[in-house]
Symmetry: C2
Subunit: 522 residues, 2 copies
């Protein structure tokens, strides 16, 4: 038994060290096994620790290190993301302690047990997620528990609302603020790059933020990056939107609905995209971005995210219900998702298609033009001064007159335009054609297989890589006629893509009588 005086406690600060490891959205802290603080605190493996220094604070998972050349006993290492987040220089004195467990963990356990959560539960969970208080394991548990138990529509609203309230929230001080969104899954579907200039040319405020490709060969941000800079400081973006009424920038840096970005890190590897999570992810971002009106595109097809009309209808009603609760005006359109939209798949090829449509070029892909006009028309009808049914004609006039091209050029200029000639796009050097094995009619095109071939060929990392479609559903082809051309950046990727296309070209041929039609809303 002894009294309680002590200078025996281990040193409370460590020197910060940058560890050049990319741990992909998970903060990792590295402590040497002999570190006095590690020994005294009795941290468990993978414990969440709180790192503090100079008034900054981050949470990280702990990895124990046995090699002093990585971290020494008096150092604290942080992985690249974590180091950037803390924002201090190497050698800075930092302290580290066991992180308080996230206070929403009991609610997480109730969800794992299949219970319905309250609005307050969702608020606290989303707050903890946005503050990186959840480990990857806890995040996965939340995502799976919400997916399996199927959130009811009130819970989807609670989740969406909570996500929209954490992080930055924009207020444009005018009305309407319009946006469009597609739930994704259709290669080449670059309608945003046509809809935004048309709607902005009409004068409506359309501060569109776009995403980069996650599992697809190109996102709108990747394609726009061929033409201009998409990573703009928040204040520049703001000013640009006010001047030009629209933008085509990447949304990842603006801190809108940050919990969504954290959740994606586990949803993506699990390929989980449940209706509730999709609605929460999309609507929370739009509301946080200050949108008042949203046009939502749900493509339906055998290889699209939504595979049947009844499924599309259920999803539409969920979007409508939750948007209504959040005070967001929404129009949902169900579109033909049986095949890629436009000709190109991959950033450069898609940028070529978009510019050709804007230029009213004779080789502009008509399907991309028509779909964009219809979406833009519906958005124009958000304007109280536009009569119902007049939107399409107004959109077509804006496009045909060159005003959309002019607006796009202004936006590109404002976002730091890059030289690009759609007649001579910088395509990847290694190409090959995939040929029809027999005479027939194109009955089906597998979006997923073509997207995969484009990715294997290098898209979107290699912007000039991808697939250029040379036939569409309903076309009659002869044996040996090219169905599509693949562009790859490296010889090895060309080989991988060739192997993938040899396993399955993605095209189904057959007799004309087998051709099926799809009844979608337009």
């Amino acid at each position: 038994m002894d009294s309680n005086n002590s200078n025996e406690a281990p040193a409370q600060t460590l020197r910060l060290r940058w560890i050049g490891i990319d741990t992909y959205r998970e903060n990792v802290a590295y402590l040497h096994r002999d570190c006095a603080l590690y020994r005294a605190e009795g941290f468990q493996a993978l414990a969440k620790v709180e790192v503090r220094g100079n008034g900054q604070r981050i949470l990280a998972s702990l990895n124990v290190v046995d090699d002093s050349s990585i971290v020494e006993g008096d150092q604290l290492g942080l992985s690249e993301d974590a180091f950037a987040q803390l924002g201090l220089q190497e050698g800075f004195a930092v302290s580290v302690s066991q992180a308080e467990p996230a206070s929403s963990i009991p609610a997480l356990h109730r969800k794992i047990a299949g219970e319905r959560l309250t609005r307050d539960d969702f608020r606290r969970i989303v707050q903890d997620i946005a503050e990186h208080r959840y480990s990857k394991i806890e995040l996965t548990a939340f995502v799976v528990a919400c997916n399996q138990g199927e959130l009811d529509r009130e819970e989807v609203f609670y989740l969406s609302d909570a996500m929209s309230r954490v992080g930055r929230r924009l207020d444009w001080q005018e009305h309407p603020v319009v946006d469009k969104h597609c739930i994704g899954g259709i290669p080449g579907n670059r309608t945003s790059m046509l809809v935004v200039p048309i709607v902005a040319a009409h004068g409506m405020l359309c501060p569109k933020t776009s995403s980069r490709a996650i599992t697809s060969p190109a996102g709108t941000a990747d394609t726009m990056e061929v033409l201009a800079n998409v990573e703009l400081p928040f204040d520049d973006l703001n000013a640009l939107v006010r001047t030009h009424r629209g933008c085509l920038a990447w949304g990842g840096t603006s801190d809108l609905s940050p919990a969504d970005d954290v959740l994606i890190a586990v949803e993506r590897p699990l390929s989980i995209d449940s209706p509730g999570q999709m609605v929460a992810s999309i609507l929370s971002k739009k509301v946080a971005a200050g949108s008042t009106h949203l046009l939502l595109d749900i493509p339906v097809g055998p290889h699209a995210k939504v595979r049947s009309m009844p499924e599309a209808r259920r999803l539409r009603k969920l979007f409508e219900y939750v948007a209504g609760c959040m005070g967001l005006v929404i129009e949902v359109v169900v579109t033909d998702g049986r095949q890629p939209i436009g000709r190109g798949i991959g950033p450069v090829l898609e940028a070529r298609d978009v510019m050709r449509v804007l230029q009213n070029h004779p080789e502009a892909p008509m399907d991309l033009r028509q779909k964009s006009l219809r979406l833009a028309g519906r958005m124009l009808e958000f304007d109280p001064d536009v009569r119902g049914g007049d939107g399409f004609a107004i959109a077509r006039d804006i496009l045909d007159s060159g005003r959309a091209l002019e607006k796009m050029q202004a936006i590109i200029q404002a976002q730091g335009g890059k030289p690009f000639d759609p007649e001579n796009p910088p395509l990847a050097p290694h190409s090959f054609d995939v040929l029809a094995p027999e005479d027939g009619v194109v009955l089906g095109i597998d979006n997923l297989k073509l997207a995969r071939i484009a990715r294997v060929a290098g898209a979107p990392k290699a912007a000039g890589a991808g697939v250029d479609m040379l036939a569409r559903i309903g076309d009659t082809v002869s044996a040996g006629q090219p169905l599509y051309r693949v562009y790859a950046a490296y010889r090895s990727e060309q080989n991988f893509a060739r192997q993938a296309s040899e396993r399955h070209s993605g095209f189904t041929l057959g007799g004309a009588e087998q051709l099926q039609t799809l009844n979608v809303e337009f």
Copy 2:
């Protein structure tokens, strides 16, 4: 368009490098961002890669590195576990490629969607898990999906059976092979260290493997380690059991039900311990270890894992059903789990209690003695030559006569005995007493709080740390009388433990009339 000759492909092998980072049961591979192979293969962040060399093969998650002092462009780094698993020396030529996705992933997705899985689904999932084909995210998804949807009892059988069939499976070539197991949660509950010598002294084969503490202040393996070596090579253990009829060793190295060890890595941080997973974990290990008969202890109490008799009954029926399907004879006993068993909590303190019971020492804790005799008695009745009801008296005779002590000493000796004097146990140096704040009767003791205080004091890492109980439920205490004494290895841990005990001592005092009784099976 060009032809397909090429020596352009990147080098196919890399030099192996040990990376001194303990990634806790997850294999991690480190590749430099400039590595030609990384660039050519287009690995995604956190992709699963397959590393091969010299006929060996392991799977690992990829971390990308930007610091050549960690790995260079022509090296492949492996975290400590992964390096040990591959078993090659640094500098060895290894190749790396995208791992084939686990073939059971579609079944995982069906489980996430709430479907019932088949026997074959579980076999393939468990196989992939044991081969480390699942990422931590996929593992978590499986655990949560099984937990939330509540496996039906057939599915629990499929899972248990699949787990028992992957990895090593022992056959002792005799009958019966007996074992005992407690579902856990009660501090100090070291009955195995008494039951095994009693049953082995009777001559029954009892190859008990024990676990280390996961969230408790001591597991049987931690306590036995105070007295002897618990990490024995498999063949030595085998010979030892045949000679002495029993052992008290750690089960972690014997490769029995390896999928269980992988699953624990996510169940533990989530504190998930659903009935189905508990049954599968326990029964798969026992069947793989060659047991034919199992005595299972389910303690019930307000701070135990099982909190009510109806809950205990449901769990018992599930254990009985699944054990029956697996051909394992099981006896389930429900015991009093309202407070710790024995006096000490922590490896050295618990070893002291066990040795005192074996020595028939006047200060031996009677509750530990009585419970052990009852459990041993039930196990002895697995012997066809023992009449029902006679087990307890036989067990008591074996203990009182000193034959149990003799057997324990032989086992300790065979496991490489360490010097230990129960009259003078090597306790941690910094201690303090927690006192009764008022006169009263002990109405309740919170197992979880006391376990936490013992852990904060340093147990089980510091074997001599822990809590020594000085009062039990039903005792009358006066204000200022010690309720328990805490031993800590370091001054800082003493302070943490004191703070924890000041927040809540874990004891509830009150009037004698408030004392409640618990009706358990014995």
